[in-house]
């Protein structure tokens, strides 16, 4: 019997897992995919919002304001990449300045520091590549950028090292409430648990509706993005938004923490909770709108595009708390933007509920520190010499675009919750994320995975399931 079972290992599930790992609790995390951070966490804007967007008084406003300042310590403890680059909301006419003032006012009500309106001269000095149409902007100095999957992997690794059990490839089929515990039926087994925490992202409605009569509905809202080569990663320094619309914060232009340029997302409600395909219309829309913010969006430098699904709840706000009709069933549902920013605060809020309900004892030996995989590309030459001497596989570069060494790939595979697929290696090392988009390194990673996992090369997948890279030996199909 587990004390707590968390369903979903996105940034919310893993933040909660890591927070609760401080206590003497038997905790299990169930994940339907073959890796953590595979849903909404994998594909979003990667922005740590300042917190002026959300309507005052909502959970979104409160948790955004609380979550943002938690990032410095979290990033330091868990060694994931995070930087406060600031954000600007730009407007294109003097009339629209009113919109900025409204946001500023909202931000002040939400208790957000470091907000001010800046005008053309200062703005163009700050961001010389903005389009000539731009008139003014709301500048938010506390906004930041992060790598959401690396952060989530860090949270998960740290939780695992502190005793949390992760069960991957474990889709939940049903949950049955018993006298004073729950039985969770997964595709592999039946798990007994005293408490359930629902952090299932776009599936949080299905999980909730298995247990509670207070039905919720999540309508996935797809957002598409284009990623540009690092050679144009410095086109903007801050995250550039346009004035928000009813559909969301609109299409942004931002540097990524890894040095690329990111443009997106649009917003389209979709039925299919797995549909992360991009569309021609969507990508065109994203580029068209972005061109209004920044002059000369270099479309010839696009290296890839992707889409993510926002777990948008019809209730408009985060749903966090115990279900009214199901004791010890805690929802962390409807976590759309600013979900990433809020995740650490959501975890604290859930922690509060757990303390109240289970009154757990603190562990004495909780270790909040997680060391990142040493990134060869970020080391000085002296450090590089040192690390190759210690571990020669750091002298073998497997991904030439991102300068990733075999040593890093091996470590990604050998760590707790180690990589089992090409995409999992990619998320942990950036192998294949560069300008050639894995053309050269994928053949090597397939070899390394096959060797390390002792699996036939034909069993290696891109991301689990039937996403095999190779299907059969040459001439096998010749009769």
């Amino acid at each position: 019997m587990f004390d707590i079972t968390i369903i979903g290992s996105g940034v919310v599930g893993c933040s909660i897992a890591r927070e609760l790992a401080r206590y003497k609790l038997d905790i299990c995390v169930l994940e339907k995919e073959s890796d953590v951070a595979c849903g909404t966490t994998r594909a979003n804007s990667a922005i740590i919002h300042a917190g002026y967007d959300a309507k005052p008084g909502t959970l979104k406003a409160k948790l955004n304001a609380l979550g943002n300042p938690m990032y410095d310590k979290l990033a330091e403890e868990l060694e994931f990449p995070f930087r406060r680059n600031g954000s600007i909301v730009i407007c294109f006419s003097h009339e629209e300045i009113k919109g900025l003032e409204k946001l500023l006012d909202q931000g002040r009500k939400n208790g957000i520091p470091g907000l001010r309106i800046i005008y053309k001269d200062e703005l163009m000095k700050m961001e010389p590549n903005l389009s000539d149409e731009v008139v003014a902007a709301l500048y938010a100095e506390t906004a930041g950028i992060v790598c959401p999957y690396e952060m989530t992997i860090a949270l998960a690794e740290n939780a695992a090292e502190n005793g949390v059990e992760f069960k991957l490839n474990s889709r939940v089929l049903n949950i049955v409430k018993k006298e004073n515990f729950y039985e969770i039926e997964t595709i592999n087994e039946v798990i007994k648990t005293k408490m359930v925490i629902n952090a299932a992202g776009v599936y949080a409605d299905e999980i909730n509706n298995m247990v509670s009569k207070n039905k919720i509905k999540i309508i996935p809202r797809r957002g598409e993005y284009c990623v540009f080569d690092k050679s144009v990663g410095d086109m903007v320094k801050t995250t550039v938004f346009q004035l928000p619309t009813a559909l969301g914060k609109g299409i942004l232009v931002a540097p990524t923490i890894d040095g690329n340029l990111l443009v997106g997302p649009n917003a389209v409600d979709v039925e299919d909770k797995e549909d992360v395909s991009t569309t021609r219309e969507g990508l065109n829309e994203v580029l068209r709108v972005a061109k209004r913010s920044v002059k000369c969006i270099p479309t010839d430098k696009i290296i890839t595009s992707f889409a993510g699904l926002r777990a948008r709840c019809t209730k408009e706000d985060f749903i966090i708390g115990e279900a009214d009709d199901a004791e010890n069933f805690i929802n962390a549902a409807g976590i759309e933007s600013p979900g990433l920013t809020s995740a650490p605060a959501i975890a604290r809020m859930v922690e509060g509920i757990v303390i109240q309900k289970l009154n757990p004892e603190m562990k004495k030996d909780f270790n909040p520190i997680r060391k990142a995989i040493k990134k060869f590309r970020e080391l000085t030459n002296d450090e590089r010499r040192e690390i190759i001497k210690e571990n020669p596989s750091y002298g073998k570069i497997v991904c030439r675009c991102e300068t990733v060494t075999e040593g890093e790939v091996l470590e990604a595979i050998r760590r707790p919750l180690g990589a089992r697929t090409l995409d999992a290696v990619k998320r942990r090392t950036r192998c294949g994320m560069g300008r050639c988009q894995s053309g050269f390194c994928s053949t090597r990673i397939v070899d390394i995975l096959s060797r390390e996992l002792n699996e036939p090369i034909t069993d290696i997948t891109k991301f689990g399931g039937h996403s095999n890279i190779l299907v059969e030996k040459n001439k096998e199909g010749i009769n």
Binding site: K473, N474, K475, I478, N479
Partner: protein, 122 residues
């Protein structure tokens, strides 16, 4: 009489050739713009041949596969038969480029030879 349509590969022009063949011999060629086209048409319509290249598995090799080719061109209609005959053929390392892997494949008088060296696994 059979009418055959070909694209000449003699140069980037890629002339569309029309060839009339009777009893296995070419009686008329049209559409060509040089002698190369004529020669090509005759060859393609009377005795088309190709060099076949493929890879074979290496046993105890430092590499998994060795690339091979038919030493000379073989009749075009034997391509698949040739591949079928090579299915399952494994070569023990070390392999030397030029080494005969299959002698006189399909009785064509042509050997299949290795096109690279593969050392023995250390």
């Amino acid at each position: 009489m059979i009418k055959k349509e070909l694209i000449c590969i003699g140069c980037p022009l890629g002339c569309s050739l029309e060839v009339l063949v009777e009893n296995g011999s070419v009686i008329k060629i049209s559409g060509h713009s040089c002698k190369k086209g004529e020669d090509y048409a005759v060859k393609e319509c009377t005795n088309p041949t190709r060099i076949i290249t493929t890879t074979l598995e290496v046993i105890n090799g430092a590499e998994a596969m060795v690339s091979v080719k038919t030493e000379r061109d073989i009749p075009k209609d034997k391509i698949y038969e040739c591949i079928r005959a090579l299915k399952g053929v494994k070569v023990e390392a070390p392999v030397e480029a030029g080494q005969v892997i299959v002698e006189n494949i399909l009785n064509t008088g042509v050997n299949v030879i290795a096109t690279k060296n593969v050392a023995r696994k250390a």
